[in-house]
């Protein structure tokens, strides 16, 4: 059977599975809609958290990013796993003990103020929508490449599926579909990784394989990779290029941001006991690490294979995956020296970096671009990093069922995260804005109705992001983590560990974190784009890492302001005492 038929079958089966689960686990009360009735087993919750967390970015983009960044890519590996240690030790058990529905719920109650709750809601909605936009792009890429349908149709199909189980099932439906999605996505990630590891190093464990010697030689894979990358004018694969302080700050921003992401935190509200919240953070990290420890291996294999299969190859003889990705515009080749061979090295192939395709074909049959060649380098190849994981099985010539499986896995990753985010958005609107702030008298039934409505509206907006992808998605990803680190995380941490913090301090802290971090990122990403280089950055810290500085500012402002205002009321002291007991 050919790859496309297999892909239709795999995607079809997995989608019917998700819908079946959604019907079986419909939510019937607000309690079930927001937090699955607190009845989720820690292992199931761990898997659901892992699927919730591992998005299209983790599944599709991360390994590709690391493949091109080399050691610098470690920031994502450490940043997106280390946050779980903070979550498990500093937040999850206490927030579960508090036992409400949403993250703004805690901030509103602990700081006895609806203003604090509103600031939290604003940060939450901003963070979550930034994230959703990325998921929908992932769904679009997979659909257009593997099922060869129009990107827009793909996004609409994805929206319908998410609509079905998020609106009907609420947190309960989402949790059990996420368990299924985790199984699909991890299987889809490991199978090609193991295959490729055996092919390249004879070692069936990818985590060990990329530290092993290449087949039929005594040379270590990483040493070979260092040699090849340096020869082509890149930096050696296993060495850093960014400054230590920048790597430090980016990792920290990603870690603290992870611990402050509302859609992750809220997962710990769904388990029966405090000790289960600790346990499920542990299980979640194990399930996540299975993918995250494999990713750098996939990156190293992919980089090696990619160079081997295109370097100095005649375009006409180039493998079919190369032409397929060129057809959807994520690879471009400009024959600078007219020798009809593909030359790949450091530097940009095209002026303006991204290709702008014409409808014509060149001498060798390649798609022509309007861009002028960038003559400062001999590189002839433009590659979108997002394709590495998806193309990897094809590059390594794996059987077509593996390729189909990867497509189903990528969709599972994108849909599970999108659903989790949409639920957090809808809960914060129906619960925090309506029930707790503007319409306190609505009944539970009405609240559930509003929750479903806001989930539906959020899905529509997310779908629009997918169909008309705003050019700024990639630029604002730093935002999501930076803001979570600079606003939500400190408010939660101090709320639990520092009783004396009053509402004035908390609000001033959150606002200053929000303003400083946004100003820095917006300045370098939108206004002074040309100034966006290490020489101009504050202490050499890139916008991606600035959330860490925002967080320190938040802490400092909160503590100082707090000192000038009265202590929180006695019942807040008692509340914090209760949270601290198991």
């Amino acid at each position: 059977m050919d790859t496309q038929v297999l892909t239709y079958i795999f995607v079809g089966i997995s989608f019917s599975l998700y819908i079946g689960i959604a019907i079986w686990s419909r939510a019937s009360s607000t309690n079930e809609f927001y937090i699955a009735g607190k009845g989720v087993h820690p292992v199931a919750n761990g898997m659901a958290t892992a699927a919730d967390w591992m998005s299209a970015a983790s599944f599709i983009s991360m390994a590709g990013l690391i493949a091109f960044l080399g050691k610098d890519g470690s920031v994502y590996l450490m940043g997106w796993t280390g946050g779980y240690v903070l979550l498990a030790l500093l937040l999850a058990p206490y927030l579960r003990k508090f036992g409400q529905y949403t993250v703004p719920d805690f901030i509103g109650a602990r700081y006895y103020s609806n203003a604090a709750r509103l600031v939290a809601v604003i940060c939450l909605i901003f963070v979550s929508f930034t994230y959703v936009a990325g998921q929908m792009r992932g769904v679009g890429i997979v659909f257009s490449r593997f099922l060869e349908v129009d990107i827009n149709l793909g996004v609409i199909i994805g929206m319908c599926i998410v609509f079905f189980y998020a609106v009907l099932g609420g947190m309960k439906g989402i949790t059990y579909t996420q368990v299924a999605q985790y199984c699909v996505l991890i299987f889809a990630y490991l199978v090609p990784a193991i295959f490729i590891s055996i092919l390249m190093t004879d070692n069936p464990i990818p985590q060990l394989g990329f530290g092993d010697t290449l087949v039929n030689s005594d040379i270590y894979l990483l040493d070979k990779l260092d040699k090849v990358t340096t020869e082509l004018g890149f930096n050696a694969y296993s060495e850093n290029t960014k400054s230590t302080i920048d790597i430090f700050c980016i990792t920290a921003a990603l870690m603290f941001g992870t611990a402050g992401l509302p859609h992750v935190i809220v997962r710990f509200f769904t388990v029966p006991k405090v000790s289960d919240a600790r346990k499920s953070a542990g299980y979640a990290l194990i399930f996540i690490v299975i993918l995250y420890s494999t990713a750098p291996a996939v990156s190293a294999f992919a980089r090696m294979n990619f160079i081997d299969s295109v370097q100095e190859v005649q375009y006409k003889e180039a493998p079919s995956w190369f032409k397929n990705w060129e057809n959807i515009g994520l690879i471009a080749w400009k024959d600078k020296n007219n020798d009809q061979l593909i030359q790949y090295s450091s530097g940009n192939a095209l002026e303006g970096i991204k290709p702008n395709f014409t409808n014509k074909r060149g001498v060798s049959g390649e798609r022509l671009v309007n861009n002028n060649p960038d003559l400062t380098s001999t590189n002839e190849l433009y590659i979108d990093r997002d394709i590495m994981v998806l193309a990897n099985p094809e590059i390594a010539k794996l059987p077509s069922w593996v390729i189909a499986l990867v497509a189903a896995g990528a969709l599972a990753a994108a849909l599970s995260t999108a659903a989790g985010l949409l639920l957090v958005i809808s809960a914060s609107i129906s619960h925090d804005l309506l029930k707790k702030t503007f319409m306190p008298h609505i009944t539970e039934k009405q609240e559930l109705f509003y929750a479903r409505c806001s989930a539906a509206v959020a899905i529509l907006i997310a779908g629009l992001f997918g169909i008309y992808p705003p050019g700024f998605v990639a630029q604002v990803v730093a935002f999501a983590f930076g803001l979570a680190a600079a606003t939500i995380f400190p408010a939660l941490l101090l709320g639990i560990f520092y009783k004396r913090l009053n509402k004035e301090g908390a609000i001033a802290g959150m606002l200053s974190g929000l303003v400083v971090t946004s100003a820095y990122i917006v300045n370098y990403k939108f206004f002074s784009i040309n100034m966006n280089s290490a020489d101009n950055w504050f202490l050499g810290i890139s916008p991606e890492g600035f959330g860490f500085i925002g967080m320190i500012i938040n802490f400092a402002v909160a503590l100082i302001v707090s000192f000038f205002f009265t202590k929180p009321p006695d019942d807040i002291y008692r509340m914090v005492d209760t949270i601290r007991q198991p």
Binding site: S74, L86, D223, G282, V289, R580
Partner: protein
Amino acid sequence: MHNSYWRSNLKILSILLTIWFLVSFGFGIIWSDFLDQFQIGGFKLGFWFAQQGSIYFFVLLIFLYIYLMNRLDKKYKKQSEEDL
């Protein structure tokens, strides 16, 4: 009673978070280049900590925390029963 439980909790947290900082920010970033002179298999040690080792330590740390806290909870529960 409550205070001693909270103090033991803080002690556990500070020890575990110190290790958390050492394996990631320490070995994976600050001293990573220095550690690269040592080699385990095909990995340079600093590179291994940055892309593999720190992540495994994170998992260990959470499970160590679960174990220590469960033990603390048990001890605390026993004591409060004795107090009654």
